[in-house]
Symmetry: C2
DNA sequence: TCTCTCTTTAGACTTATTCTAAATGCAGAC
DNA sequence: GTCTGCATTTAGAATAAGTCTAAAGAGAGA
């Protein structure tokens, strides 16, 4: 996705594009890692002509989540990660490295959203834990 | 589960029973809430004849997790919750209150642990998000 | 240009958790 | 019974992730 498209995406979602927001969105939309706020800061701070505040990174991530441009992913205690893949998908977590991989929604059979009278399911998320086979 | 059984459970899992550990394990084994460390502290501190340190609560929770007596449950950023239900089950999170409910494993069809060559699945966890129907 | 509103910023603050170092408690050796 | 050693508990310091605050900056329209 190129800059003009990202700018259009932000505008369409009601987030005014600024240089800070553009580099953050651009980074997230082009990575398959599931970075933390700190990793986002480290990755983008040299893409701007001057310093970027940690608070701006948090503000931007929260705005993008609220606007539905990215999602939060929480797989381990105390770490919030961000994922610009907002199509229906699940996650695989490598137990050794902690790395997270997207599992496309259509690789897993759909569950009926039926948990009885008490629970009205809106969406669900499956997290697989296991070992990444290195050779593959 | 009564005290003698809990004591036997801890011993069998290699955790030496102490008064502090007993009241914490007892509380967790009898609640259906999924308490945070602070909630555990608040719930058990008056069950001992003297003060209980926050550090001991964390130490104990970590020991019980390591021993497989309880599990961590992370459904929202920044909050680690604990669950003494270690049978296979999933979770339903009420979007309004944040409350978590156990969903027995047999209420959800088993997924094949087959995600292709790269991923060897050890276990998986489904989190359902939705609305708790109050009248039920 | 003026004004309004939104954004960014540095740093203070909060919250959750871990670390540290000292004190306590208990089990086995003597 | 007392010594010794190890595991546990403790208060409080330290760390880490994230939010808040108040002031400065920047763009849109009158």
């Amino acid at each position: 996705m190129e800059a003009a498209e990202i700018e259009e995406l932000l505008t369409r979602k009601g987030v005014k594009p600024t240089p800070q927001r553009m580099v953050i969105a651009d980074f997230l939309l082009h990575t398959f890692s599931h970075p933390t706020a700190d990793e986002v800061l480290a990755a983008v701070e040299n893409r701007l002509p001057c310093a970027l505040s940690r608070a701006t990174v948090y503000n931007t991530l929260n705005s993008l989540v609220a606007a539905g441009v990215i999602q939060e992913v929480v797989t381990e205690a105390g770490k919030t990660r961000y994922d610009a893949n907002i199509s229906e998908h699940h996650h695989f977590v490598d137990r050794k490295s902690g790395r997270i991989f997207d599992i496309p929604g259509d690789m897993v059979p759909k569950l009926k959203d039926n948990l009885g009278d008490k629970f009205q399911v809106h969406n669900y998320q499956i997290t697989f834990y296991g070992d990444l086979l290195e050779d593959a």
